[in-house]
């Protein structure tokens, strides 16, 4: 019976992914952005070479999709306070100047393309809306205590 075996492979691949790769990403936002980046925009399939070598391409794809959904659901359930904390931690992890980050995220809204397939539009709208407010809070905090490198200059291309 290929069904249960395949399911076990996916579970094992997801477990492996959590233990080896996602363990270093404490915040769900960071995991969401990372997992969305493993998805091909044209096919909607997820790719992870190491995971595909250890398991199979299909199992790796499903495991990545499962973890992606999991990260998104964590964001839906997060309070605004947690989201602001997440966003700040993610900002620090990117090592980009805070001002540039805020301007890019406000202008491009990159989180809109990071939604997993099959998520209800209301949940995604709630997350987008909370991120918009969280960005405004973070921006206001950064303006209150400006740091070197926080340029807040406009986007080069709009």
């Amino acid at each position: 019976m290929p069904g249960p075996t395949k399911h076990m492979d996916v579970l094992a691949a997801a477990d492996d992914l959590r233990r080896r790769t996602l363990v270093d990403m404490a915040q769900p936002l960071e995991r969401l952005i990372y997992l969305a980046s493993t998805r091909d925009y044209n096919t909607g399939m997820y790719y992870h070479q190491g995971l595909a070598l250890r398991f199979s391409e299909e199992a790796a794809c499903e495991a990545l999709a499962d973890c992606h959904r999991e990260a998104f659901e964590e964001l839906v359930a997060a309070s605004l306070e947690e989201l602001v904390y997440d966003l700040e931690a993610y900002l620090k992890s990117t090592r980009v100047a805070a001002g540039d980050f805020i301007v890019a995220w406000k202008g491009l809204e990159p989180y809109r393309v990071a939604v997993p397939v099959g998520i209800d539009s209301l949940s995604s709208e709630l997350v987008f809306s909370n991120l918009k407010v969280a960005l405004a809070i973070l921006e206001q905090r950064l303006m209150a205590r400006p740091k070197p490198g926080a340029s807040l200059r406009p986007l080069p291309v709009q």
């Binding site: 839906v76 309070s79 605004l80 306070e81 209800d120 209301l122 918009k132 407010v133 809070i137 206001q140």
Partner: protein
């Protein structure tokens, strides 16, 4: 003369009722599979996408608002309220739309397939009416008072919607995978395939 007119009117009224009932009975059974799938989809959307307790709690709980007002200036609080009002109105609109889909399914097809008692049907009709009214009232309240001005109405609406979902679940139970599996097993012996 007046009595004759009254009896005639009563007779015509009864004929109209009979005609309406006969029309409902003859709803096309063939090709109603799509309606079943749509009803199943509406039910899934309600149960998994719109009515989960944690999602409703997230939208209507005041914790986020308290956090914003305590830590941020007025314009951010205003932005937050605008955003949360938009989301709460979107939620009511979506719930109403899915409830209407389920109601149309019950009116047209459910009675042909599900063995619902008269009492259950009456209760269901009342719940649908209550839900549609609650959605309308909630929209007005959300417009007037903002996202945190109608928590008791939200509770009434979700409780009633859950009741309707439970009744619809029974009507659509035969579309669940285990039921389909047993149907497939039964049909396989007779050479039929799905």
């Amino acid at each position: 003369m007046i009595a004759l007119v009254l009896y005639l009117a009563l007779g015509v009224g009864l004929l109209v009722v009979l005609w309406a009932l006969a029309r409902r009975k003859s709803a096309p059974v063939e090709g109603c599979g799509r309606q079943f799938v749509e009803a199943r989809q509406a039910l899934r959307t309600l149960q998994l996408g719109l009515l989960p307790e944690n999602l409703i709690e997230r939208i209507f709980d005041q914790e986020d608002y308290r956090y914003v007002t305590a830590t941020s200036p007025g314009e951010i609080s205003e932005l937050f309220l605008q955003e949360r009002s938009r989301i709460s109105l979107m939620w009511v609109r979506r719930v109403r739309s899915e409830i209407r889909n389920l109601m149309h399914f019950h009116l047209a097809y459910s009675r042909l397939h599900a063995k619902l008692s008269l009492l259950t049907e009456i209760r269901l009709a009342l719940d649908f009416a209550l839900l549609l009214m609650a959605c309308r009232a909630l929209r007005i309240l959300l417009y007037l008072r903002g996202p945190y001005g109608a928590r008791s109405m939200v509770r009434v609406l979700t409780a009633t919607a859950e009741r309707v979902c439970a009744a619809s679940e029974k009507s659509l139970a035969f579309l669940n995978p285990p039921a389909l599996e047993s149907f497939r097993r039964d049909s396989a012996g007779h050479g039929a395939a799905i």
